[in-house]
């Protein structure tokens, strides 16, 4: 075969093989054309190799080929070692945070939780590329992934991946969603405390149960009515709690697995037996959320709450201002919250469709700490003349009515003291010393704010859920003190500002250039 034909065969075979390979890479399907091209090309190359076997052998036998081959093998070995070393270094790394306030280090609590992380967890951060705080969140999440190989993070731009945002029910930029083992947990804040607590919740095996009491005309969790609690139930379940109903009369005691017991707007009073069951529960360190209604008389329940430091007023709040928002006089707006974990970082208004006042008693019993939670505006008052109010008129009467701001929600925590027993019959009863852990009670003067209609309005949903999670999460939730802000602002005076321009941009480069000119000239001169 002539040399020219061989060359053509070489080139054709090469082109066909490479072309076929490229086509396969672009469209990973063995179409007839691709396979024929590949096969034919390889065949030509092989035939050529066979025909030129003597040449090939001579080439392989050459010293430079042998050395080149050796070199290639050696280089591959060294590369493999480098990759191995890098892999080991990635897995067993040491880290030092040189910043003054250790802002790139996680708290010991978080590190401990990450070390014991058993399930793979991913956090999706729904941030736009330009979102403020994205960098610092990335820094923070980077530290999380560094402490546990089971933790991964991913930034998602909700504008670019609207389907993903929809799937995760993300409505606002800056939302984080933790996902682990099929469970999801939304985190609305980008602090270490929020993320770590979310992590705790989403990886928790045991689900916490929240009991809703029924039997006194309470709001039903199955009801889809305007004031029903089906939306509230759904919201609570999204927070990874179970929701069950509880008929107190049927039970001797509140079930052991109750994380919180909720009384959602009773319209009849409780029986004494039921109240003693509740008292037992509270004395064992129980958690109770009570949501009342105005113009509903429940004296026995009110008496129980008063024992724990919370006074329920027999009145209804009138708020002139709420009219601005296009609502009834009896729908006060709350924009003022007391300092409390429930309302920490809480800046939005909440709306209460008809509520009564809920205030701390003047002198709570020992071991009872009580404080107001939410206050109505200064233009509101608590109307005590309910008869006139029902006829449709109300006005503020100094003396009988309470002037605003009026507290419409209060929080009380009860130390696990032995029950007061002046006759010395301590523990003569059934239970023995109470379990440790403070009992917690949150009382709202209204229940409709968490009903189907109002739950979605403004901050209502958050207020309701925050109250529940404060009640339910006490032991597990951890508090991480935020890092001391290392504020180091810098103010340049006019002179310093000019210096900041002249020194780096003119003086320094000119000096370097001058030195160069000097050195080179002197060399020329000396020659």
């Amino acid at each position: 075969m002539s040399a020219r034909l061989r060359t053509v065969l070489w080139i054709l075979g090469f082109l066909l093989t490479v072309g076929g390979a490229i086509a396969y890479v672009i469209k990973p399907l063995l179409t007839p054309v691709t396979s024929v091209a590949l096969g034919l090309g390889l065949l030509m190359l092989l035939v050529n190799l066979y025909l030129n076997f003597a040449d090939v052998r001579r080439f392989l036998g050459k010293r430079s080929t042998r050395y080149g081959g050796n070199l290639a093998v050696l280089a591959l070995i060294v590369l493999a070692i480098a990759v191995l070393v890098q892999g080991l270094a990635t897995r067993h790394n040491l880290r030092w945070d040189l910043t003054e306030n250790k802002r790139f280090s996680l708290s010991p609590q978080t590190r401990n939780i990450l070390k014991n992380l058993k399930k793979n967890t991913e956090i999706l951060a729904f941030y736009r590329d330009t979102e403020a705080g994205k960098q610092s969140l990335k820094d923070l999440l980077e530290e999380y992934t560094n402490s546990s190989s089971r933790f991964k993070y991913r930034f998602v731009d909700p504008d670019r991946s609207p389907n993903l945002a929809k799937e995760y029910k993300v409505a606002a930029y800056g939302t984080l969603v933790l996902e682990s083992g099929g469970k999801r947990e939304k985190v609305e804040s980008d602090t270490e405390q929020a993320i770590t607590n979310g992590l705790l919740k989403v990886t928790r095996d045991r689900e916490k149960t929240i009991y809703m009491i029924t039997g006194h005309g309470e709001k039903q969790i199955t009801s889809q009515d305007k004031t029903g609690f089906s939306a509230a139930k759904q919201a609570v379940e999204e927070q990874n709690y179970k929701v069950k109903e509880l008929v107190l009369l049927r039970e001797k005691a509140v079930p052991q697995d109750a994380a919180v017991v909720v009384i959602p707007g009773p319209s009849r009073d409780f029986f004494p037996e039921e109240l003693s069951t509740l008292t037992d529960y509270i004395d064992r360190g129980g958690k109770l959320l009570v949501m009342l209604e105005p113009q509903v008389e429940t004296p026995r329940l009110s008496k129980l709450l008063e024992d724990y430091g919370i006074e329920v007023g027999n009145n209804e709040i009138i708020d002139r201002l709420s009219r601005v928002f296009g609502a009834d006089y009896t729908m006060p707006v709350v924009t003022q919250y007391a300092r409390h974990p429930i309302t920490a970082n809480f800046g939005v208004a909440s709306f209460f469709p008809s509520t009564r006042s809920v205030t701390p008693v003047k002198k709570p019993k020992t071991g009872v700490e009580v404080q107001p939670l939410a206050l109505t505006g200064p233009n509101s008052w608590a109307e005590t003349d309910l008869k006139r109010l029902r006829q449709g008129s109300a006005e503020f009467n100094e003396g009988s009515d309470i002037a605003g701001p009026v507290s419409i929600a209060a929080v009380s925590s009860v130390a696990p003291k032995e029950r007061e027993d002046p006759k010395g019959l301590l523990f003569s009863g059934k239970k023995g010393p109470p379990k440790s852990g403070k009992a917690r009670i949150v009382v709202f003067g209204d229940s409709d704010f968490a009903g189907n209609t109002a739950l979605g309005i403004s901050g209502n949903r958050d207020l309701f859920l925050n109250s529940l999670s404060w009640l339910a999460e006490e032991e597990e939730l951890i508090a991480i003190r935020p890092k001391d802000q290392s504020n180091a602002p810098l103010l340049l005076s006019a002179t310093e500002g000019r210096l900041a321009f002249w020194f780096p941009l003119v003086i320094l480069p000119a000096t370097v250039l001058g030195a160069g000119v000097f050195v080179i000239w002197r060399r020329r001169w000396s020659r």
Binding site: R63, S64, Y67, G68, L71, L74, A75, V78, L79, A82, V85, Q86, A89, T90, N93, L94, R95, W96, D97, L98, T99, E100, F104, S136, D139, N146, F155, Q485, S486, N487, A488, P489, L490, L491, L492, E496, G497, L499, A500, F501, F503, P504, L505, L508, P509, V512, L513, A515, G516, V517, V519, I520, R523
Partner: protein, 256 residues
């Protein structure tokens, strides 16, 4: 290693007796100086505004606000400047034929390589030291944190060491300085931007690309965190490139 010092000295002298080093320094300082000036001026305005707005003052930190971006940008500028420092290392000697002298003399290849490499590192070190005047200036008017700045310089030193190693390798493969510079620049730029595709490359490839990227490993240094895996990445890259350079020098003997 007897011959290391003479080669080092000769190489260093050739940098400083030609205009190259001074011009590269000068341009580098002007660019970094400009970034420093605009960074610190903007930060000063922010600080001034924060006097009236306490919310803005939260987390306003001169180290984070001025030096972290400055050093990140300096990495990018190095990428442009470094090929100019390394392009001539071997390419020039090959062109002028003096490489034969070096390689046939009873000097070991390692000594030649390390001498030249160390000289280039020394030139680079001076360049870094000159930029240290910016944080020094800032301590006069404010209070930047020492830790992150020191870690940034450690990072820049390692980053530069690996960049120079890559440049040395490329320079040993060609006798044309322009080709050496262009190829080095291309490789460095690729190493820098390779992490950009990590977000859509899928989890496995994405992680791999992030590990390969010279940017990602520098991020930690710039924010004030020293991680052994980043240190080892740069050392690994440098040693590997120097090893290949050595082989490339050696191959001159048998390639004929």
């Amino acid at each position: 290693m007897r011959n290391f010092l003479p080669i080092f000295k000769k190489e260093l002298a050739s940098y400083f007796t030609s205009p190259i080093a001074y011009i590269v320094y000068c341009m580098f300082l002007i660019i970094v100086g400009y970034l420093f000036y605009s960074g610190i001026s903007f930060f000063s305005i922010l600080s001034f505004q924060s006097l009236n707005n306490p919310n803005l003052a939260q987390g306003l930190n001169v180290t984070e606000g001025v030096f972290r971006p400055l050093y990140l940008n300096m990495g990018v500028i190095l990428l442009l400047m470094m090929p100019l420092l390394t392009m001539r290392l071997f390419a020039e000697e090959k062109k002028s034929g003096t490489i034969e002298l070096l390689l046939t003399n009873p000097i070991r290849d390692v000594e030649v390589l390390l001498g030249k490499y160390a000289a280039c590192m020394a030139v680079y070190l001076v360049m870094l030291l000159l930029t240290a005047l910016f944080p020094a200036f800032t301590t006069l008017v404010g209070s930047p944190e020492a830790g992150p700045i020191l870690s940034s310089y450690l990072g820049l030193l390692l980053l530069g060491a690996s960049f120079i190693a890559i440049g040395t390798l490329v320079s040993s493969l060609t006798e044309n300085q322009i080709i050496a510079a262009a190829v080095t620049f291309g490789i460095l730029l690729l190493l820098w931007v390779i992490s950009w595709s990590a977000s859509f490359a899928g989890p496995t490839w994405g992680t791999l690309l992030l590990h390969l990227s010279a940017t990602e490993h520098f991020q930690n240094f710039a924010k004030g965190v020293v991680d052994t895996q980043d240190v080892i990445y740069y050392l690994n890259l440098s040693v590997f490139c120097l090893f290949l350079t050595l082989r490339s020098l050696e191959s001159k003997r048998w390639r004929g």
